[in-house]
Amino acid sequence: MTTSPPAELADAARDDGSLRRFLHGLPGVDQVGVEQRAATLATRSIKKQSKLWAIDMAIRMVDLTTLEGADTPGRVRSLCAKARRPDPERPEVPSVAAVCVYPDLVATAVDALGTSGVGIASVATAFPSGRASRAVKLADAEYAVAAGATEVDMVIDRGAFLAGRYGEVHDEIVAVKAACGPAHLKVILETGELVTYDNVRRAAWLALLAGGDFIKTSTGKISPAATLPVTHVMLQAVRDWHGHTGEQRGVKAAGGIRNTKDAIRYLVAVREVAGPEWLTPDLFRIGASSLLNDLLMQRRTQLEGHYSGQNYVTVD
């Protein structure tokens, strides 16, 4: 992963003015058109072997998340156990990609996950609002990394973005990226607050220019969180980025993806908008909590031939 943009795009980020010209020079997104494309792709019918494949891939892409004020070490330990072994009766079910917790619970997660290979993502930068001083936000990120987080999910300053202070947003991402050290950085755009698809496209490009490894839709704390059309726009951005630079960056859809049907629709979008090469946890993640159980139940249904039930999967 590079830490600075390729030469031809470096100019775009030279200063606030160039950044504005670049971002506002990107082609617009027609709302009706993108929503229609997303809706048509959502009619793909994924059955049998391809459904099973998709379920397993979706499980592998889950960032199993708990981000509540009431989180305790006990809660996090249970989460980690589930993350490693989602279905105790079926050991062949893969582990999820990562857990996602608040910075002060990272150490607990590190302990609980051991050498399982499951990643530890921590939110940072005054998640979810992003309203704090630069120093506080950087300290937040550094703390998480020091505690052992392998991934950092930061939030952009939406206030600055909506006020047009793109340079500020850009520089903040660069600073957080530096603070991440070896940890990989996901940049949460909070698309529900950006509202228009044009804004989502601009914020996506901004985050990519600033070196984010992943662009992420939402904090999951407001509605709307992830939607298919918004994710389309972001998948198109990473595809275009790849076309310009040869680099593959990732996308994470978080919040509001509650069942297998939804998850599979996201995978279809990944495959057909970004490309089949993006169908890997290294390039696509789903931030979710209750989704995992639905994936496990649907997996059982596919294999056992009858509908499953809540009591056949663990609550945590």
């Binding site: 082609p27 997104v29 494309r37 019918s45 994924i46 391809s50």
Partner: protein, 479 residues
């Protein structure tokens, strides 16, 4: 993980719901009857299997049907208050909705179009047309044609194979709403859904003779449009046949509307919302395998973005899934007939011969049935056959332009004038282009949108008369 790549497993819609029968009869004077013409065999273009044998009409059958329509008009239909006619049309609309899946599957079997399209586009629009026109039946005084516009009498209607059920709806609904009775000939290769519509008409209790369906080939159509007791002729099909009909009706006093071919220009400016423009281009030419009179078959792209757009376009076209029309994941289905496939092949070969650069999607094709891989020709000039002649297949011809005036000149440089597309983020330019394009339908930042409330029809050799909306009623009124 057993697969390294993710291929979608086949997801076929079941055929059973189409209730295919080995043979189908004509529908005349409220009954299903045998025809005295030579029965035709209708095939599934995706597999080349015979679906059913269908009765066809002889000249005397045409006469019987027209007389039945005439009688129904004089004795029942023209005397019935509009509010009562409306209720029949509402019933038909509802029953189409109730049998939607059956109709969609049957349409895909007979025509070759993907089930996703017949299910999500064709059949819902059919119901909508009946619904919309039901509401006009008792509101004709508000349509702008005077306080009491009268119907014409018996309408003879001939429809094409590309949207079999939808074209039947576009013809029957307004005709009945205005108080006419109809005799309709579906296309030779796609008669089945019209005959199931006849069942629905019968179940709705429509008085006998108000709607009559006569399957057959061109000769039956000619017999029908030339019958002296037909007062109004409506034809959708090729420009060539449209001209023949117009010629044969000369001096007859019969009212005529024609909806013919097209070679629409889809114009993309450098400030277009690019990804959606790509979708619009794809939809414009590959929807329904390109068997659309209003297909965006000529892409006019502003030179400054041509390379970027074509790259994206080729990428996108490569993801189109071509195959079994009954598979829910199929994007592009079968070409309707061997004859049509041969025509497409011939024209694309002319493209090669005349020096255009051909790119074809690397998608796999089924090994039987009539299929053609989506193809894009670039470096096309106005003089080439692929820029002038209607291919009616999944083949796009790409030309470039530099200025808006040049775009207009090239877009209008055709004897056709059915539809056009404009892609730009600038509102004033959309309106400027729309004003100048000589086309009956202009789509801006979208394509292939149809609605019963929005009139549809062409300029010049794309025909005359409109279907849909207030304007479309004129065709069926004596005004």
């Amino acid at each position: 993980m057993s697969q390294t790549t993710w291929d979608y497993a086949p997801a076929p819609e079941s055929r059973d719901i189409a209730r295919l029968r080995p043979s189908y009869q004509m529908f005349v004077d409220g009954q299903f009857v045998d025809g005295a013409g030579e029965p035709l065999k209708t095939i599934n273009p995706a597999t080349e299997e015979v679906l059913a044998e269908v009765a066809t009409a002889s000249p005397s059958d045409v006469d019987t049907a027209v007389r039945a329509a005439r009688k129904a008009y004089e004795r029942t239909w023209s005397k019935m208050p509009g509010a009562e006619r409306a209720k029949y049309l509402y019933r038909i609309a509802r029953m189409v909705q109730e049998r939607a899946r059956e109709l969609a599957v049957l349409e895909s079997l007979d025509n070759g179009k993907p089930i996703r399209e017949s299910r999500d586009v064709d059949v819902p629009l059919v119901a909508a047309h009946f619904f919309h026109h039901a509401g006009w039946a008792d509101k004709l005084p508000y349509a702008g044609y005077g306080p009491d516009p009268r119907p014409l009498g018996v309408a003879g209607q001939v429809i094409p194979w590309n949207f079999p059920l939808l074209m039947a709806a576009w013809k029957i609904a307004p005709a009945l709403a205005c108080g006419n009775t109809v005799v309709l000939k579906p296309a030779e290769t796609t008669p089945l859904t019209a005959l199931v519509l006849a069942e629905i008409v019968q179940q709705a209790g429509l008085p006998p003779g108000v709607v009559n369906i006569l399957p057959g080939a061109g000769d039956v159509g000619a017999e029908l449009v030339n019958h002296p007791l037909v007062n109004k002729v409506a034809f959708t099909g090729s420009t060539e046949v449209g001209k023949q009909i117009q010629r044969s009706l000369a001096g007859s006093g019969k009212k005529l509307t024609l909806e013919l071919g097209g070679k629409a220009a889809n114009v993309v400016f450098d400030d277009a919302p690019l990804d959606q423009a790509v979708e619009g281009i794809v939809n414009g030419i590959f929807f329904n395998q390109g068997h659309v009179c209003c297909a965006g078959s000529r892409l006019l792209v502003q030179e400054s973005i041509a390379d970027e757009l074509l790259d994206k376009l080729r990428c996108r076209v490569s993801t189109l899934r071509v195959g079994d029309p009954l598979d829910k994941n199929t994007d592009v289905g079968a070409i309707n007939s061997k004859a049509q496939l041969e025509k497409i092949v011939e024209l694309t070969e002319s493209g090669d011969a005349e020096g255009a650069h051909r790119w074809t999607s690397p998608c796999p094709l089924p090994d039987k049935g009539f299929f053609f891989a989506p193809t894009v020709f670039s470096d096309v000039s106005q003089a080439m056959r692929i820029a002038r002649e209607e291919i009616f297949g999944p083949v796009l011809s790409v030309l470039t332009f530099r200025t808006p005036d040049e775009a207009i000149a090239k877009a209008n440089n055709t004897p056709y004038g059915l539809s056009a597309g404009v892609w730009t983020d600038k509102g004033s330019r959309i309106l400027w282009m729309a004003q100048r394009m000589r086309a009956g339908v202009v789509w801006a930042n979208t394509f292939n949108r149809f609605d019963p409330a929005a009139p549809f029809g062409g300029y010049n050799e794309s025909g005359f008369g409109r279907e849909g909306g207030r304007t479309g009623l004129e065709a069926y009124l004596d005004v």
